[in-house]
């Protein structure tokens, strides 16, 4: 059941993004920015926490979760050290994926070259 809900919620979020991109004829980078901001806003209303309860990884794997994780991290730190949490919480909560992204990005760039598409 967890797996089915993950598939469903994750799929629906991505399908929504696809509709926004195709109907609005928006470039993909803008859709990614839009959805990550929506994630942060939804988090502010407590909606994203609810979505994670429902969909588990279906909510945490799509990019809006990054916005949610930043908000959640800030609020957590703010609960302990007040306004200082605004500066410390976001990156603390998202350190693992960001550090992994930098490490993996650099590592794979060293090991592999872009393959290109001109070979058809």
């Amino acid at each position: 059941m967890d797996y089915a809900m993950a598939f469903l919620v994750g799929g629906v979020i991505c399908a929504l993004a696809q509709v926004v991109m195709d109907v609005g004829k928006i470039l993909p980078a803008y859709v990614m920015v839009l959805f990550v901001c929506l994630g942060a806003v939804a988090s502010g209303f407590g909606l994203y926490g609810w979505l994670i309860q429902v969909g588990n990884a279906g909510a945490t794997i799509p990019l809006p979760n990054f916005g949610h994780a930043l908000v959640a991290g800030i609020l957590e730190d703010a609960a302990q050290k007040g306004w200082l949490g605004l500066l410390s919480g976001g990156l603390r909560a998202t350190a693992m994926p960001l550090t992994m992204a930098i490490m993996a990005g650099y590592l794979f760039a060293l090991l592999f070259s872009a393959h290109g598409k001109g070979n058809g």
Binding site: K25, P28, A114, H115, G116, K117, G118, N119, G120
Partner: protein
Amino acid sequence: MAQKRLGKETVFLANPPAIVATAAIVGPMEGKGPLAEYFDVVEEDTLLGEKTWEKAEIKMLQEATDLALKKAELKTGDIDFFLAGDLLNQIIAANFVARKISRPYLGLYGACSTMAEALGLGAMLIDGGFARQVLIGTSSHHDTAERQFRYPTEFGVQRPPTSTWTVTGAGAVVLAEGGHGPLVTHVTIGKVVDMDQKDPNDMGSAMAPAAAETIWQHLQDTGRRPSDYDLIVTGDLGRVGKPITDVLLKKAGYDLTPVYNDCGIMIYDTNQDAHSGGSGTACSAVVFGGYILRQILSGRYRRVLLVGTGALYSPTSAQQGESIPGIAHAVAVEAADVVD
């Protein structure tokens, strides 16, 4: 001195120079397309043994110019002018080939219209008596264009159906005074036309008005009808831009449909996932130099109007909100006995 001008914007060449040799080199994807058998060389991969795609594009353009010279039985020293261009910033493919050729060089940027631009300019140089032999070369490479104009090639972005696929290839032409081969008889240099198109995924629509304008002007100036040509062929308008050009010209009183085709549509099969069709500086260069010229030589086509089309697109100006201007140049190429 205006006796070589015809109408408002066309020049006719009183001593029409001949296309004495062409060379068309393409990448592997173009080598799987319907015109494969007409290309001189089909490369096995897009790197050509080089370290970067830019170096590969330079090598391909070098090979094309070498081959065209060899076919024309000329040496680089016989060349009075080298006219070349490509899509890269500072037209580096053309510049680096010119470095090796080491003859008087004019670097041209007409985006994908550069082959027609160079043909027209080269023909005028010869007709004017300023040159006996002119070497022309243009190239494009899917991956150099992709990383410069759009996204990294490994980025998982979806291409909409209006997008075109940059042709990997290089074309070269040798024009000579009094040589054997089809003749360049008329040149209509186009104006920049901008109908306020802004979609970077749809170059066909941005270029179509320029193509229609140049074709209309050419027909007006020469007094010819579309049916006077066996083929009117645009560069890379694709499946979106071609019908738009057709409609625009029908509104202006010319029915092109029976003789009209587009190099971007001709170069790939529909199942090759090139969406709207091929594009790029090499597109019209290899289709013209490889396929169309052979058809003229075999007698199937007697009179062809090559209309090079270019989208003068820059990511910088586009990001600053500017629209995409288009340009098109028309060059009439006729079998030698038609002109006599």
